[in-house]
Symmetry: C2
Amino acid sequence: MLKELIAKIQPLNKTAMAAAQERQNMLTKPAGSLGRLEELSIQIAGITGQAIPEIKDKVIITMAGDHGVVAEGVSAFPQEVTPQMVLNFLYEGAAINALAKHVGARITIVDMGVAAEMEAHPLLVNKKIAKGTANITKGAAMTPEQAEKAILAGVEVVEAEIAKGLDIVGTGDMGIGNTTPSAAIAAALTGSAPAKLAGRGTGVDDAGLQRKIDAIERALEINKPDPKDGLDVLAKVGGFEIAGLAGVILGAAAHRKPVMVDGFISTAAAMIAVAIAPAVRPYLISAHRSQESGHQQMIEWLGLNPLVDLDFRLGEGTGAALGISLAEAACKVLAEMATFAEAGVSDKE
Amino acid sequence: MLKELIAKIQPLNKTAMAAAQERQNMLTKPAGSLGRLEELSIQIAGITGQAIPEIKDKVIITMAGDHGVVAEGVSAFPQEVTPQMVLNFLYEGAAINALAKHVGARITIVDMGVAAEMEAHPLLVNKKIAKGTANITKGAAMTPEQAEKAILAGVEVVEAEIAKGLDIVGTGDMGIGNTTPSAAIAAALTGSAPAKLAGRGTGVDDAGLQRKIDAIERALEINKPDPKDGLDVLAKVGGFEIAGLAGVILGAAAHRKPVMVDGFISTAAAMIAVAIAPAVRPYLISAHRSQESGHQQMIEWLGLNPLVDLDFRLGEGTGAALGISLAEAACKVLAEMATFAEAGVSDKE
């Protein structure tokens, strides 16, 4: 099933991109003067196959999961915060609620592997694979079967959203300790040292950061993830929400939908998606540069250039929300502006 | 009258800023994890004096003017484009129309000194000082009386908008050739060489750029603007739209309203405002880093740090529109998020 999905991911539509580029040059502004917004409109034209794409239905998918590696003292917050924050999302008290509402996006909250019983809630999608991953310093985070199941659950979630109407999807995460598996994924795929990829997450002190680096080093040593096999890296040192987000990304690309990638954890999920299916890369837009050290290397590995740098280090999809608004702005500029001819404005001499 | 206005500009409200900072630390996210948005909310609390400020009425004031220095061949577009683009604004075909609508801001278009008769239009505010400035390579752009009159016209425009309801104001400009006086203002105030401040504007070639640098050098030599006297710099090498925008900035600060400063030309206006009244500085928010070379030095002189860098070089208030949306997002995060206590979320261990 995963193979079939991957085979569906097509290159961008060059004809639509050329038409969008041509229109940008005819609009009443010096050619190229809206910089990144012009590029973004052309990329989205290529993704959707529409010369003048429209972004109306905006969705942020925020996936939650817990991590056995928290036993190693890698996080500044206790694990109980994961289910507490899921409830906070459902009752609209979190940053992602304020920012998604601000940009007119709807949010879907998914339990991919929270280490607690979550009461049923009409807004909570239950795709729980297990109550948290195993401790990656002692063995694999999950079985290969769980990894594939989690990815396919992510595909199902995004396909359900596409059925409701989706013009762009933003990724978001919640999971105490999840900067550790994300940095481990980055270390496995880039070959860079854990010390260069691990950061302070939600705010660990120097000793906590050292525990985190040690944990990643031990996880890589005991698991020996194969950098040529994205599914292997995911199963050995990943997380359920990361797997689900990789599925969201793959599913969105298969349906020609642009993906607004949030920060550190979402970027790790994007790396897994690209490792599994390199054709997914042009469907990705990096929303923002995370303050979490190591993000830059991940972005470079993906060949992306974040839209903004606002010193965010929160996750949840908060950066993606702002990026979605920029993507919508980019498409509105392309669609709504008058051309030189229409407005009777003289072009460059 | 200008002196009275300047005397009204007060320091930021420290009590409101401390309350906003305290609330940010209680909200359900790691302290500081929304980076620049948190800082922005605290600045706006200090500006408005409200511990939880609200941004509802958003206004972009786009001022147009022409420049005698275009006779020196400093622009890639002909001067007739200034009135043509003013009409394009009024008929909603320009980039600023699309972007202002996207962020829910209203636009006010002001003729400060377009070198053409503009037909009356219900959306066009007529504050024309003269039909374009004089050629700054031959003498002063305007008289000191015109400079003061233009600033006060800007104050009137923003006060009229405040009367209608205004929680934040963005600055915007239109004026063929206006990167030349803007770079001249920057050179006069920073003492830096014109060659380091002049850029390609709407897209001049190498020969055009050299003519521009020469024109600025001659303008500074013949006019000898006094860097300690903002009004003198404005009158000698400025422009009517730049003067009007300086008035908008001064008027907004006097009424404790945040000012979202657009790119190169608006930043030159902000420099004039700060040179005239240094107390205005903390009311300024730099929306974006312009692609126009020289902007960085102006930003540094002002001690500002642009919110985003999207390679814009258009003006009109396009960057300010996006910045206004970020300011609104910042205030919504502060106002709408639940605290750890309210949401029953465990704080850092």
